[in-house]
Symmetry: C2
Subunit: 357 residues, 2 copies
C-alpha cells in the first residue's frame, strides 16, 4: 500500500500552445487580436498596491454592479468568477445535483464532460445533426440540467434565440445554462430571457471580446434565486477568489463601451472578409458568429494543413477526434495576420496542385 | 418538482468583516499591517496591459521558479494557486481519495471540514489537549490523509518539527499536508523535510507575511510526484487560474527578500510587546508564533470584550463555538494600532472594575 493509492488519477486537458516566440501568428486559442481598452492599463497604473495587504471584496460588488448595469439587470442577478471556466464549473456543482443525466451536444466545449465527471454528474451527449446544429427535440426529454454553448465551440454556429427559448421554457424543472463565451461577435444573447425564466443561467467572459484572457474574469447572469445559490456555494468553500486588481481592471473595461463596440466590430469585419477568401480557396465551414472559423478543405486533409501552417509559424487548432478530424479551428486575428494566413494558404494550395497531388 | 430540487444546499462561511470605514482598526482577518514590497507596486506600474489579451502561462513558470529558488527546491517541487484556500482545496481533492477518514485537529482552520464535505472525504477530528496542543498518538492510527496547520489557527501555537516529522514518517502510506499560512512569524517550517518524505506537502501563502491578500496567491511544496499529481488534477479541469498580473506581482514580492525580512521582524516585535501588555491586563493566551494572539481574559467574558472593542471601531474575531467561546483572536497591527487597542482595553477594564463588576 502507498499514499499513491489514494490519489485522484486524471487525464489532464491539453490547452492550445502558448509559444514564447513572438513571431508566431497565434490563431489557436481564440484570443482577441487587439489589446484591452486603454482604460484597463490606466486602471492598473492608478491601482494603489499598498491596498493589496487587505483581502479583496468577497462580494466583488463594484464589478458586479457595472456588469449588471450594462446588461439591464440588478446587482443580485450577477455572479463573477475567475474566468468563465471557474463560473461554469461552480454552476455545474451548484445546479446539477440530480441523478437524471444532464444534456449537452456531442460536439461542444470540451470541459462540460470534464466538470460532470469531476462532480460525479451523470450526462448524456446529444449528437448535433450533420450540419453541426442542435436538434431541439434532444433537449425536450427528462433531464437533470442542460448546458448549451451559443454560439457553439468549436463550430462557431449560433442557434436562434427562439429555439433556445423553447428549450428553456420546456425545462422549468431543471437549470439551463447558456454559455455565451463568443456572443459578442454576432450571436443573439439569451440575456433578455432572464426576466422570464427563473431556470436560465447565462455565462459570459472577459477573455474573448474584452481581450482580457490574462486577467481571468467570467460571470453568470440569471434570476436572483439562481445567483443566490451560486454565491452560497462559492462562500461555502472559498470566499476570496477575485483579486482586487481583477476587479479594478474589469470595471475599467466595462466602462469603456465605445472601445468594446469598435474592437468587436473590427473583428467581425475581418471575419467576414476571411470567410470570403476561405471560400475562394476551397474551404467549407459552418456560418460562424464567433471570432473563429471552423473550416474543412474540399480536398486537402486538415491535419496536413495544420502541420503546414505550423511549420510556417501560424498556429491554429486541430483535434484528431471523430466527426471533426478533418476540421481546423482558426481564430480571427488582425487584418494583417489574416492576410498572411490567406496568402500562405493560397500559395500552399497552388504548389500542392502543381506537384500533382 | 422544481429545478431547486437539484441545487446543492450549503451553509455559507461567514468571513471576517471587511468594513468600508477607514477609521476602523481592523484586526479580524490576520492581514499584514504593512503594505507589500514597493517592488510589487513597481511591477504593477510596469505591467504591459496590452499583453492581457493573451491567456496567462498555465504553468505559472516564472513565479514557480522564484518560489522554488527561495526555498532551495526545484521548479518541479512547487505548485501555485489562487490563494492557499485554492491550493489546499485542490490538494484535498487530489490526495484524499481514501475511504479511511482523514485526520485533523478539532480546533483548527475552519475550511478543512468544509473541503472534506465538498469532496465527500470522510474525516475524524482529533481533539487538541487542554493546552490546545496536538497529541502525537492521535495521528499514528490508520488514516486516509492528515492535515495540520502549523502554527495552528486560531490558537497560534506552533508544533515542534520533531513531533511533526514523527507523524509524517509514521504515515508514509498517506499524504500529510502541513498548512504553514503563518510560518514566517516564527514557527519551524517543515520545508527541510520535503527531501526526506515523498508524502509531505507544505502549503504557504502570500496573504499574510507578504501582505498580498488582495492578490490571491498561495503555493504548495513537496516531492516531484506529489506536485505532478496536483498539476494533473488542476489541468484536468481548469488550466488558467493564475492571472498574468498575479504572476508578475508575486515574482516582485519574492525577489525582495530584505523587505520581507524587515516587515515580518517588525510584526514579531510588535507581537512580543503586545503579549507583555496583554499579560499585564489579565489576558491569558497560548504562546503564539503567528501574527495574531488567541486570548482569553481572566474574568471578563470574550463576547463582552468583542462587543466593547467593536463599539470602539476595533474589529477582532470571535467565535461562539465550544471550547473557544471565551477567546478572541486579535491580529497584530502596527505599533500605533496595538497601542490604541491596549489603551482602550486598559481603560475599559478599569472602568468596569470601578462599576463593581
Amino acid at each position: 500500500m502507498s499514499w499513491e493509492d489514494y490519489v485522484k488519477k486524471v487525464i489532464p486537458y491539453v490547452a492550445g500552445e502558448q509559444p514564447k516566440d513572438h513571431n508566431v501568428i497565434k490563431l489557436n486559442t481564440n484570443e482577441c487580436p487587439y489589446p484591452p481598452s486603454p482604460r484597463v492599463g490606466a486602471a492598473l497604473g492608478a491601482f494603489d498596491a499598498t491596498t493589496l495587504r487587505k483581502y479583496p471584496d468577497p462580494n466583488v460588488s463594484e464589478l458586479v454592479s457595472v456588469i449588471a448595469r450594462r446588461h439591464g439587470l440588478s446587482d443580485k442577478q450577477v455572479f463573477v468568477g475567475v474566468g468563465s471556466d471557474d463560473v461554469l464549473s461552480m454552476a455545474f456543482m451548484t445546479f446539477f445535483q440530480s441523478t437524471t443525466p444532464i444534456l449537452f451536444p456531442d460536439i461542444t466545449y470540451s470541459f462540460y464532460d470534464v466538470w460532470a465527471d469531476l462532480y460525479q454528474i451523470p450526462y448524456e451527449r446529444q449528437p448535433l445533426n450533420d450540419l453541426f446544429q442542435i436538434k431541439k427535440e434532444d433537449y425536450l426529454k427528462e433531464n437533470g440540467g442542460i448546458v448549451i454553448a451559443n454560439p457553439n465551440a468549436p463550430t462557431g454556429i449560433s442557434a436562434d434565440r427562439i429555439l433556445l427559448e423553447e428549450i428553456i421554457k420546456a425545462n422549468s424543472n431543471s437549470v439551463v445554462i447558456i454559455d455565451e463565451a463568443y456572443i459578442d461577435f454576432g450571436g443573439e444573447s439569451c440575456v433578455p430571457l432572464i426576466e422570464k425564466y427563473e431556470n436560465l443561467l447565462v455565462v459570459q467572459t472577459f477573455s474573448k471580446s474584452r481581450a482580457m484572457a490574462g486577467m481571468r474574469i467570467g460571470y453568470a447572469m440569471g434570476s436572483e434565486k439562481l445567483i443566490r445559490y451560486l454565491m452560497d456555494v462559492k462562500f461555502s468553500f472559498n470566499s476570496y477568489t477575485m483579486s482586487a486588481i481583477a476587479i479594478a481592471a474589469g470595471v475599467a473595461s466595462v466602462e469603456d463601451e465605445t472601445y468594446f463596440q469598435e474592437t468587436t466590430a473590427k473583428i467581425v469585419a475581418t471575419r467576414e472578409h476571411t470567410k470570403t477568401q476561405f471560400s475562394r480557396l476551397g474551404f467549407r465551414f459552418p456560418d460562424t458568429k464567433t471570432n473563429f472559423i471552423f473550416a474543412t478543405h474540399q480536398y486537402v486533409p486538415a491535419q496536413e494543413l495544420f502541420e503546414a501552417l505550423r511549420a510556417h509559424a501560424i498556429y491554429v487548432r486541430y483535434w484528431n477526434k471523430p466527426r471533426i478530424e478533418n476540421y481546423l479551428r482558426i481564430s480571427i486575428g488582425t487584418d494583417v495576420e489574416m492576410g498572411i494566413v490567406i496568402e500562405f494558404l493560397e500559395n500552399y494550395l497552388k504548389n500542392r496542385e502543381k506537384k500533382g497531388h
